[in-house]
């Protein structure tokens, strides 16, 4: 179906058909709240409009010719001058980390974070499952009603929910890392492993009671910060170590993903 797009050589002629049809349609609606004759009149007007409309497009669309372009062409002349004055390429940052390293960094960071959290569970509550179950409390109200023994046990539904939350958040944070690292000041890993945990803890602290009351009852803030730092260090280290690609408007998604190994620097 290779066709030329419409209106290459002409633009559509003016017509009152749409106006007439719309007026008729509205009168049909208005007939419901006034009287039947308004509706009948509206229907007649709408039909007249449609008939006229049909005439505008059949057997072929009615077009108006476009006047030939001026002999003295003013193609973009003014624009050219104006932009030259503006100067800069306007790309910043020039290079960015590919999304691929962000996604992978997020996954590795998420694993590191989970390891720290599980150690906390083992050390303080002698259960690996407890931290995972608590995370599920973000979306599953039943967690809030459970007692500590239930929370320390393996629960497939809770584990599934927790893994989904943790996975999604880790990948999202990893991508954010890949985006933000080039505009962070000199030491990206330091910024990522300290600044981010501080921000996240600051956000979570006041809101946790509301979002996840179950977790709020158990949480140990030093360990919490520790797990965030683990994420930040691993993710930042991975992303920073993978190199960058050209961050340019117009590059393809594949390019920006960073799957072309040859392109890295």
């Amino acid at each position: 179906m290779k066709r030329e797009p419409p209106y290459q050589h002409g633009i559509p002629e003016s017509t009152s058909a749409p106006l007439v049809t719309a007026f008729g349609v509205t009168l049909v609606a208005a007939g419901l709240v006034t009287n039947l004759w308004v509706m009948v009149g509206g229907a007649v007007i709408a039909l007249v409009g449609l008939w006229q409309w049909f005439g505008d497009v059949f057997p072929g669309e009615r077009l108006e010719e476009i006047p030939a372009p001026n002999a003295t062409q003013r193609r973009w002349d003014f624009a050219v001058e104006a932009i030259q004055r503006a100067g800069t390429r306007g790309i910043y940052p020039e290079r960015a980390h590919p999304w691929r390293s962000g996604i992978l960094g997020g996954i590795f960071g998420g694993v590191a974070m989970a390891v720290v959290a599980s150690i906390w569970g083992l050390v303080e509550h002698s259960s690996v499952w407890l931290p995972i179950n608590l995370l599920a409390g973000c979306v599953m109200p039943s967690v809030g009603d459970a007692d500590e023994t239930a929370l320390a046990l393996f629960n497939p539904a809770w584990i599934g929910a927790a893994c989904m939350i943790h996975g999604a958040l880790s990948v999202a944070c990893g991508v954010l890392y890949a985006l933000a690292l080039p505009i962070a000041p000199q030491r990206p890993i330091l910024a990522g492993s300290v600044a981010l945990p501080v921000i996240v803890t600051g956000l979570v602290w006041p809101t946790l009671t509301i979002v996840n009351p179950a977790l709020d009852g158990f949480i140990s803030w030093p360990w919490f910060v520790g797990s965030q730092v683990a994420f930040g260090v691993v993710c930042g280290w991975w992303v920073a170590g993978r190199g960058t690609v050209e961050a340019h408007a117009g590059r393809s998604i594949v390019d920006r993903m960073g799957v072309h190994r040859g392109r890295r620097r």
Binding site: I11, E13, T15, P18, L19, T26, L32, A79, A249, G250
Partner: protein
């Protein structure tokens, strides 16, 4: 608009505009129509606020109050936000993708006239309708028209039918326009304009059009059911006959929440054009912005019941919808950071469009955060249907949508008319409106927390509400002064504004490559592009963007 206009009789001009199928003329009518109703809806709000400025107000009677807040809400959403935003889409999309018109020009005109006649039908209720208290009654059931208040029993007469029919007709208008936008964006792109080279505004409008196609028909269907109830005695929402009032809420908000994004995504689109140009930088994270927009659109379809926490749905449902609502904050946050990332390190220039864009970021973020607060179920139980909610959505829709619209008006006015708007008046307008909006809508949060329900016509003294209501009402005056400044600016600039030239802001997208105003056929020659910044490439053949593209 043309130089020979004064010599032609006014009837010829009117005729030209009524029969036109040119997307630019239609868009100008869309926007003028929307701005006209913006004034109407504003006057309605001003009367409401005058009534509430002091306790035990007696300016208007309760029934008039109900009619006014119904018409205010309905007008602002359906007759102001939709036509103005779709109007901008109409004007800009063909120019941005390098086309000579929309895909279906006649359908485009049809959509505009449906909007106009639908609005006239709705407002005719002030003359012709009959309500609970007799003749000349506008609809008074609120903009979301909850059942069973809308049943024949509680809403006798036909004022509610005017609401249904007026919105239905203008709803058809928005559906036809959405069809047109999708077809234009997908089919009318000039050679070389791949999807990922389109200006981000086109992506925003594509997603908005898709949301319109999914959400508005659902409202139309619900309104059709309501008509069947009211005229043929069906029982869809008739609680006496076994019908469910909750079904209306579900269906209405399935439309209602995406509608919020329909109203705000085009404003995101304006920012995506304005911020890079006034930062002299390429947008930071183009593909990410597209992805975040798609994510918002999908999530927005599954959050509607956060408007219904006080209904008493099951805890599981409440948690699900709360969680989904929190989730919307993620792509929305990505957008905010994308704009900040674009501004970071740029050479910022705060002309009026950029002032509005920057204010948008702050105000919208604030409104978004109160929205996240309201998504917390117990919090919502406390503050649902209070002035806190009113404050929240006015920050989103006024601080967001309206500020975005004014940013767009100041940015594209030179292209549409060939004249610049006055910068000094523009600054006055911005600061007055900014102050007015803050004074009006910020205290609403406080009066809401103090326990003031929305839609009450009066309140008693001694409950701590007097001061906050007085402040809110006085903000209206600031806004009124601001709008007068704006109107004066428009009139003055149309007459004696500085000629704009083709590209007054040194922008990079195709609409700035043609004359201001553009000829009826938009481009003397169909452009060809090889990157997202065609005007950059044209000027820098030695260092074009296209050289950096895949396979270049």
């Amino acid at each position: 608009m043309t130089p020979d206009a004064p010599q032609r009789p006014w009837t010829a001009i009117v005729h030209e505009w009524t029969v036109t199928v040119d997307h630019k003329k239609l868009a100008i009518m869309y926007i003028a129509f929307g701005l006209g109703f913006f004034l109407v809806g504003g006057v309605e709000a001003a009367i409401l606020r005058a009534q509430l400025a002091q306790h035990s107000g007696t300016l208007i009677d309760p029934d008039t109050f109900n009619q006014l807040f119904t018409m205010h809400g309905t007008t602002m959403v359906f007759l102001v936000g939709m036509p103005i935003l779709l109007g901008f889409g109409n004007y800009l999309i063909p120019l941005m993708v390098g086309a000579r018109d929309m895909a279906f020009p006649r359908l485009n005109a049809f959509g505009l006239w449906l909007f106009v006649f639908g609005a006239l039908l709705l407002y005719y209720s002030y003359v012709g309708a009959e309500g609970l208290y007799g003749e000349s009654a506008a609809p008074d059931v609120g903009w979301f028209a909850y059942a069973p208040l809308t049943s024949r029993t509680f809403s006798p007469g036909n004022s509610t039918d005017y609401w249904i029919l007026g919105i239905m007709v203008s709803g058809f208008g928005s559906i036809t326009t959405a069809v047109n936008l999708v077809a234009t964006i997908l089919c009318m792109r000039c050679p070389g304009m791949t999807l990922l080279r389109m200006p981000l505004m086109c992506w925003m409008m594509l997603v908005v059009a898709a949301l319109v196609l999914v959400a508005v028909p659902v409202l139309t269907a619900a309104q059709a059911m309501l008509l069947l109830d009211r005229f043929l005695g069906a029982h869809f929402f008739d609680t006496q006959g076994g019908g469910s009032a909750i079904l209306w809420q579900h269906v209405f908000w399935f439309f209602g929440h995406p509608e919020v994004y329909i109203l705000v995504l085009p404003a995101f689109g304006f920012l995506n054009e304005i911020i890079p140009v006034f930062s002299r930088k390429v947008i930071f994270g183009y593909a990410l912005m597209v992805a975040a927009t798609l994510a918002i659109a999908f999530i927005a379809l599954a959050v509607w019941a956060h408007h219904m926490f006080v209904v008493g749905l099951s805890p599981e449902l409440n948690s699900f919808f709360a969680a989904m609502t929190f989730l919307v904050a993620v792509p929305t946050g990505i957008k905010i950071f994308t704009w900040l990332g674009t501004m970071a390190g740029g050479r910022l220039r705060f002309a009026t469009p950029m002032l509005f864009a920057a204010a948008f970021i702050g105000l919208f973020t604030f409104g978004g955060l109160t929205g996240v607060m309201l998504a917390v179920v117990p919090f919502d139980w406390q503050l649902s249907d209070s002035y806190f909610v009113v404050g929240h959505f006015h920050f989103v829709l006024f601080g967001g949508t309206v500020f975005g619209i004014f940013a767009a008006i100041f940015y594209w006015f030179p292209k549409v008319t060939g004249k610049m708007l006055d910068e000094r008046l523009g600054r006055w307008f911005f600061w007055l409106l900014f102050a007015g909006m803050f004074v009006t809508f910020f205290p609403m949060h406080i009066s809401g927390i103090l326990g003031m329900p929305r839609r009450i016509y009066s309140y008693q003294p001694g409950r701590g509400l007097e001061l906050w209501n007085l402040i809110t009402s006085s903000g209206v005056l600031l806004q009124a002064v601001a709008l007068i400044t704006f109107l004066w600016n428009v009139i003055k600039s149309l007459g004696s504004g500085v000629p704009a030239g083709d590209n007054p802001w040194n922008a990079w997208t195709l609409e700035w490559s043609t004359s201001s105003p553009p000829p009826e056929w938009n481009f003397d020659r169909i452009p060809r592009v090889s990157s997202a910044r065609p005007l950059w490439d044209a000027v820098h053949p030695d260092d074009p963007d296209s050289a950096y593209e895949e396979g270049a």
